[in-house]
Symmetry: D2
Subunit: 362 residues, 4 copies
């Protein structure tokens, strides 16, 4: 693969008081380490552009040199995730189901697999809604060590039964290397949770798997860090990565997280990877899930991840954000209706450039 | 008006090590200042509920008493903004135009009035789109004192001309008391900007006006603070307040602000006031405005505030986020299409409880 | 005054796919508007430096041009606040008292003037501590319209009495133009509160005053915005500005605000203005005020702003963060001790370059 | 160990419009699941306290019941980290070196072990400063997969040599289970990085180790989440946990992270665990490290973690924040001087209650 250099250019801004000697010294260092320096004298200060670098460079190393006011790193250090490399959108496939194509992908299920009856009751609803993916954690990453941590082995058996009985693809979280192995045996999509978005050992391990990886955005992750986490997976050879926005942490208190829907067009502009939205974790409140799901589809997401429970008020985890079966089925209908109008807008004016976010796959 | 007490209950949690004497002392203080104390002994610690308070009370005053672990203020200190008081949604009217009713309200125009040609060219597009409101600042609140600050008196004449020639309602920002007077003379809706959301002198002044007030959310405002700012205006007797979500400040760098669309269902649940979304300032990037406008309508906003410029690349302020006339007209069409499907969802299943956020006016 | 251009340089990064024609078009536009373009062809993409601009320019206007990937604004648009212009530190004087000089400045008093007895009792403690400034708000910017808003006229009389009886300089907040007039009549330092940091009408008004201005950092203000707010005041001719860090809003919940002490060395590096810290509002909890005051002095602040109350558990506002007289006197002693050791470090090794933050006035 | 129940009390606030039947239904459910309900009728609404729970309960499950306005979870779900359980401060020992005792603990070294010469040159400086701990990562958690990831096996040999030659205790990061094993073989303290603070597999693994664990605060972690991560380690039987504040992510851009020094007194109030501060990662800029280190000691931290490099401008990672040897030695001197004055304050007035944060070990 012909990798474009993504590490140039860079800009060093000298102080107004910087002497010619200091400017010269910076130029010298730049060239000594194999780059090209472009001094730009201005009315009151000089800036020095850097190009031609073939490898990674940490621009902050110049920050402490005499006369330097600021160092501006310009381009983003990712390669495989970018549309520069691959203009067509990626469609990630799990058997006969796909994420990133024409069809809106819906992943639904309970937060955690609690027991066989609960899981099968929910799976039946998910199948009935037309969704192709079933979510459900066999273990749960819980903030406290004393809360319900998941069902373990019995959970895997239940997931296997659901997969066979309902034809749903299983999306479930791996917390470590052993977890990746288990998902490979029993599931269809490896989920990397928000808390593990920068667990590089786990990312590399998922990168060596043959299964698609659903990568949730970390709760304090910039767009760049999120894409670089995807890059970690892809750098190991697994190109089937699906991004999932699930809200970021802010000062706001009316939601558990602040769902950053602008990340959908932002990802679309930079990357060929499909992107989903999880309005359940992204809000933490059942009454907001459906409106935010509509918004997610309207903004151009490739799909939704939704928590549904047959008895939300008895859920062992995250009950406050789980929808009832009725609410969930209504959400799916609304989501498809919004998706339809979004697509018809494009088709009605084929000559016009469609606004960003509505185009999914070529 | 029969005002519900909104200051109760409150809860004081004692430390596990608190003595009976310490519990007694807290109870005594609560009763001494006119409230009722409800001690609740638990397995390992005691909590004390407080009810019956008729006036405001700052619970943090109990925090430093011996034996107290934590003080929990429970309810929100607003009254006039709440649906508790007024279950029906408020429709705010400016002449024959309305915000909060059946019709999606669209407020559009340039960031700043730059000159007569620009303003009239944009107004023509806005009228053509079917929007009823024209926005345009005569002066601009700019972060730097050295950037374009607006046109001043000439701007008011231009706005007056637009109002008469195109029948558009004028929405423009007031920065101080003198500004409120000018909007009263020349405009239809007083805008309070995000930077002034907690400028209480200005809020009170707008509360004494007869014009509707569009109150933008401050960039670090919680939902409670935003509603309390509206309460300031309403407490002066002006009940025609429209809220406008315009993004909050977070660590994210792919947008100028993080547009918090979950604030729309959150406002709807608590308040009868209409709520708009400004995806232009809320993202700061033209390519995101249309997708986020679709999402805003889908989530249930009562309207949109959009920046459009006849020549965005020559705009004197905020050019990067202004749409071209073509982009703007396409946005309006898409917004109406989304609004339509959202409403038809409800009408198709009249028996079902509609999901929150789609119901606008009764 | 010979103002340095602070608007250059700027950098435009072209996409790897940008054509020579697109690069040429950008260069042409840059030169057409009077700047100098410096194209820098790189291995895979071209960047274009901009210098020579004499006036303000909003770089984001280039963002939508064909072939442009990103626009990097490099330098900060402030002038009067910078050390580039005035390397020596500013000492702000109020009569015979100073902020920014050798002596640690201490501003102390209650949050609000509640009544004569309270105010005089606290003033006595403040005088006893050796502090030169008394704080106390005659009106209070309160989040809710229903909480105690201050004492009004009677408050001004009390402040005047304190000023005469104790020789303390009065620091009190102005909320609007009328407030600035009142502080000019009765006080010594105009405080601009965090909520009004971007109330430009008020900033300009304070800029026309002859009194020093204490400018609190807004709760979501970047360093640049804070300095630009100071620039607004200074651009009107009032150079006696004191900055005051009081914490920013973050997700953290163990404090009311997150006190950002790194802003002290950051301000020092860029600006000649003195900077204080307010650990009372910056934490919101009495038990943290003294440790954070010590830290503030150790990091190099020019002074402290402290809330003290004769009876914190009966305070009408912010009682939870007010210190008792004993706690306050102990804080002052600790602050002076830390200040002493910080200075002695420097004096013991006069040849060594002192670490940033410890040097106060030349 | 007799564990206090930390899950009570809880408070359910009913809406003003809630009927007696709805209140009754909530009380019934509370009692049906084994808790005690305390209804508190108020002037306008009823609240219901819950006590007596023996196990964990997710209060949010009540949020969707008819008539419920809000559910307030009151107490924090940690047990082993709290001072309730263990009032005396923990002193964590690594051989003859200690963290949390009388002496200020200093952990210093390069960000990453780059080669033998660099590592030994730095170790010599660290030893010379009197510090007892050497930090240095054998592998690095880097945001990008294409930047320097560390030295691997050769790094372990270098660390072993430093440990023997200089008598320094080795603090180094483990990224996964295999990493924990390697630190157990070659090091003295297992560091868990900020990105892995909620990597529960790793926390449990460290909890099964016999080595002390230095747990960095996650960049978006609340105080509660950070303490619960420590609880995860302790719940596995390893009580030797040291907390390390390293800054949180905010909107501020003058530092890489916002160092939240108020977390030091906040931890001290709740927990018996020692707490360090890392001003190098916490600011990301060399010129701020020394002032923020002084502040960290002044606020009452038990120690510092500092990056020092023999040639910061050639460092392969994080060079911008590394101190030169001279700067580092000066920092250590200043830190000890501040520590001294902080302690002498206490000793001079033994009768007075010392202000929080200065008392370290009994």
């Amino acid at each position: 693969m012909n990798e474009p250099s993504t590490y140039e250019p860079m800009l060093i801004v000298m102080k107004p008081s910087a002497t010619a000697r200091e400017v010269g010294a910076v130029v010298e260092i730049i060239e000594a380490i194999g780059f090209r320096a472009h001094p730009m004298p201005g009315a009151t200060r000089t800036a020095i552009g850097i190009t031609g670098n073939k490898g990674p460079i940490d621009g902050r190393r110049f920050e402490n040199l005499p006369g330097v006011a600021e160092v501006i790193r310009v381009t983003k250090p990712y390669k495989l995730v970018t549309r520069d490399l691959r203009p067509d959108k990626t469609i990630v496939r799990a058997g006969d189901a796909a994420i990133g194509g024409e069809e809106l992908a819906i992943i639904a299920g309970p937060c955690a697999i609690e027991n066989r009856d609960q899981a099968l009751a929910v799976a039946r609803i998910v199948q009935q809604s037309g969704a192709r993916f079933f979510r459900g954690c066999v273990w749960k990453a819980r903030t406290s060590p004393y809360t319900f941590q998941g069902l373990g082995d019995e959970g895997w058996e239940i997931l296997t039964e659901i997969r066979e009985a309902f034809g749903l693809k299983i999306v479930t979280e791996a917390l470590d290397e052993a977890g990746v192995d288990l998902v490979e045996q029993h599931g269809d999509v490896i989920q990397i949770g928000a808390r593990n978005m920068q667990n590089y050992s786990l990312l590399k391990c998922a990168g060596r798997s043959r299964l698609p990886v659903l990568l949730k955005r970390g709760m304090a992750a910039t767009l760049e860090e999120w894409l670089l986490a995807a890059e970690y997976i892809m750098a190991e050879g697994n190109y089937n990565v699906v991004l999932c926005e699930r809200g970021v942490r802010t000062f706001a208190q009316h939601t558990r997280n602040t769902l950053d829907l602008a990340s959908v067009p932002a990802v679309r502009r930079l990357s060929h990877l499909p992107v989903l939205v999880d309005p359940s974790h992204g809000t933490g409140a059942a009454y907001m899930v459906t409106p935010m799901a509509r918004a997610s589809v309207a903004v151009g997401a490739d799909g939704l991840m939704i928590e549904v429970h047959n008895q939300p008020d008895r859920a062992l985890s995250d009950g406050a954000q789980a929808l009832t079966p009725e609410q969930y089925l209504s959400l799916v209908a609304e989501a498809h209706a919004i998706r339809g109008v979004a697509r018809s807008i494009i088709n009605q004016s084929p000559s016009a450039t469609p606004s960003p976010g509505l185009v999914t796959a070529a």
